[in-house]
Symmetry: none
Subunit: 487 residues, 2 copies
DNA sequence: GGGTATTTGTCCGTATGTATG
DNA sequence: TCATACATACGGACAAATACC
């Protein structure tokens, strides 16, 4: 692998990548005016590419004035006017500011409503929407899905007896989940420990109304997902915010609280994105052991990891049966499918069986069957692979584009996994101002204020950018607009 | 015969077989990271297939991250992440047995657990099952339903924008419900007063956590549906049982209680089946007016009425906005579809909008669209008529057969509507003995004990017979067996 | 160093069999 | 029976990358 190849788009033609590399070297001053480039033959040999490829790149640079060629001597870097790049940037900056005055009212309304996280009710559609929680519907294998659904309905018509109906969910699907969790997340569990439900909120409601009744104090990451917090609060739980450090939830704080339940996102904290390292994991399990508490692990994001090894679930370390694991199909398939699941330790199920059975299954049966078929046929695994490669590209491109456009002005937080990242902007603007400015340039980014129980003091404002639903080919444009908005 | 063809299923498409072959080669390490694959043309020539077939296979591998492509150079094997799908569930199969030899115990437990209503987990299937809550699947227009589902998925794929997602449910479906409620139930409401949810329990949970928070005392019919009562109780509501007379809930009792909420089934009380006459209806509305209380009207059964005029919903009389109406598709279509809805008065929605929005919609979107299509095409109305005549026949036959077989020994309660009736047996046997005797003759009938908060004193035992799912031509046989069991 | 032929990925339209209504 | 839609399979054409002389 060549040096100039590393960070670039793999799908560009060779000669263009080489061209881009050399151009950047020149623009960044690593190659100075008058420097001699390696000969075409040399370059070709070094990087094991054809001479013609090198030459095409050189010729393009020649045309654009980056190089000059001296006959029978070599290619040399041209003397550039010093402020050339700057001018290019500044002209663009001014051009597009005239767009503001339309949408202000709307957004003020929205702010009031924004007790809750991103609302999809927005009336006017921004040009670029970094929404979180939607998926890339183009990547979804609708064809296979349709055929699975068809097959499932047919199955229910002909073979689906009345009697197999199960409040925990269809056995076939629970078997598939158990198998997947073992293979991909390092969790060993039995199908009868799995409960299926239509969304994490709904499953948490069931938990609150069963095991949660005698555990009314919950420790939750601060900041953390508001829609989760509301569920607990609306059940009369006292939610104790536990702050974060770089390793995730501060278990020391948890220890000092009188919480009997803890809600954590160890694989990829929401929204900050840190991964809980092994020591901290041991520590929180130790907390559960000492206090008899239960841990709720929300693995909402697990399919998306881009660097390093996949992080096994916390649940994989659980030997005491103190962890309830929650997974979802919303991020991988379609959020509108409404299928989630949780793994509840045997003993907990046994002790609360009666309580769990009070609640009817909420996921349509044929849908469960359809998903089980989908998984059985390998479409699930296939889709994971597909989404991972697809999303990885977006992820890389987004980070690169952000750095190109805003460079030193921003810091990117939580960028190894998942479908979102945080951007901290080094500015005196408030978060709201940033969001408004972005919107004025047609870019919608999101606040994380509703994820906090207390407003932030100090430090620079932070915005959330979800890129799961953003088309690959619009990311650069979107970041360009963002650059103009904030630059 | 190609190599990659040997062991594979012959029925798979060519490109998928090639895809699977190459994938296995990579997973087994025969093709290593960085290896170059034969060019599309080479591969095509070698196996005598079209280039595009090869290309399709390569593209799929590309999407899923097994390969990377270098423009005009070739396809290469990607560096795989170490242990994502390595663990093929070999060990897992064995683990499953470690599970206690529980199956049998379970059922003994179950009898005790029957704090909850009929559980569909029963292992041995009785010859005749008067189960309640299932529908006649033979009557369901699967053909039309499949096509609606197909169309809905296709719609979501092509036109289903991200932005119309609505926590209350899809507008199209809410419009259809509003229209139906007006035509069939005498209810005038706006689509934006309707909230869709996956079952009455789930909708009640949302209610409990929103408007129910400051109304913690609920009056409920005694006896009444246990699964409803649990929801309220598990939310910390105090459930005050209000006894019945022949006109339904005794509103006088409700007046004397300090309830701020009342749960009623005025069209067809569950399980006793009486209809609340107009005077009583006025009375309960008056109660709401005086106390500022809210009424929850559960119209679970409304489509099935066999004698006299259809009874309009209580909600139709509501001028104060004090009634929340609940309807469901479980009884008419399939219970496993999990679609219900409620009509919440404008003012209540307004006052609690923020709270309602905390909860994501739980019914899959495509399913909502499918049902909306189903209704739009007139299939819903058609199906209602079909089911009504069909069920009416069953209903008449059942009553006649019961009287033939058991005549004076029994009294039939609540037999003008619905999908179930109660049979009171003039005997010294206990309810449990009756159920056991019936079961010994292959007939399963159900207890209503769990619907009471206090056990019955006095009077003869009562059993519940649901006939919605019982085939017409088996009713007489079933009653014959019941006659032998109890006669 | 230059020119040409070949290989390569990619995009296009088209024909066939099948399932559905 | 006919019409439609769809997945599958095929070959032509093009431009980029490479190989060869």
């Amino acid at each position: 692998m060549a040096i100039w190849d590393q960070e670039d788009h793999k799908d560009l033609p060779l000669y263009q990548r080489l061209y881009g590399y050399i151009r950047r070297e020149i623009e960044q001053g690593k190659l100075k005016a008058g420097d001699k480039l390696p000969s075409v033959r040399q370059m070709a040999k070094e990087y094991e590419i054809s001479r013609n490829t090198v030459e095409t790149a050189y010729l393009q640079l020649l045309e654009e004035g980056y190089l000059i060629s001296k006959q029978k001597s070599g290619y040399y870097v041209e003397h550039l006017q010093p402020d050339w790049f700057e001018r290019k940037g500044s002209e663009r900056g001014k051009a597009e500011q005239s767009e503001e005055p339309q949408e202000k009212q709307q957004d003020k309304q929205q702010d009031k409503q924004q007790a809750c996280s991103p609302d999809k009710q927005g009336i006017e559609r921004p040009t670029y929407d970094f929404i979180y929680g939607e998926t890339d519907r183009d990547a979804f294998p609708y064809q296979e899905w349709r055929s699975c659904v068809q097959e499932a309905i047919r199955w229910e018509e002909t073979e689906g007896g009345t009697y197999d109906n199960n409040v925990f969910g269809e056995l076939e699907l629970r078997e598939q989940f158990a198998d997947y969790l073992y293979r991909a997340r390092g969790i060993t569990c039995q199908p009868d420990e799995i409960i299926i439900g239509s969304g994490t909120q709904q499953l948490l409601m069931v938990l609150c109304q069963t095991i949660g009744k005698d555990k009314p104090v919950l420790g939750m990451e601060e900041p953390g997902y508001d829609r989760i917090r509301y569920v607990f609060q609306n059940h009369g739980c006292q939610v104790v915010p536990i702050t974060l450090d770089t390793e995730g939830m501060r278990v020391n704080e948890l220890m000092k609280s009188n919480a009997q339940l803890a809600y954590v996102t160890p694989s990829h904290q929401y929204p900050y994105g840190m991964v809980m390292p092994i020591q901290r994991r041991m520590q929180i399990i130790e907390w559960a052991k000492q206090t008899g508490g239960m841990i709720i692990e929300d693995d909402y994001d697990s399919e998306y990891r881009y660097v390093g090894k996949p992080i096994p679930a916390l649940k994989g370390l659980d030997e005491e049966g103190a962890i309830i694991y929650m997974g979802t199909c919303s991020k991988l398939l379609l959020p509108s499918l409404r299928i989630s699941y949780m793994v509840v330790p045997h003993q907990v199920i046994r002790e609360n069986k009666q309580a769990f059975r009070q609640y009817l299954q909420t996921v349509p049966r044929f849908l469960q069957i359809a998903l089980a078929l989908f998984m059985k046929k390998g479409e699930w695994d296939r889709h994971i692979r597909r989404m991972r490669t697809r999303t990885k590209k977006k992820h890389q491109l987004l980070i690169q584009a952000l750095q190109n456009e805003l460079g030193e002005k921003i810091e990117i937080i939580g960028s190894e996994a998942g479908l979102h990242l945080l951007v901290q902007v080094k500015t005196k603007d408030t978060e709201n101002e940033l969001i408004q400015k972005a919107l004025a340039h047609g870019v919608k980014v999101y606040s994380i204020q509703s994820y906090r129980t207390k407003p932030t003091e100090s430090s620079y404002p932070v915005c959330l950018l979800g890129f799961g639903a953003m088309p690959l080919d619009r990311i650069e444009e979107a970041c360009g607009a963002l650059g103009r908005a904030w630059g």
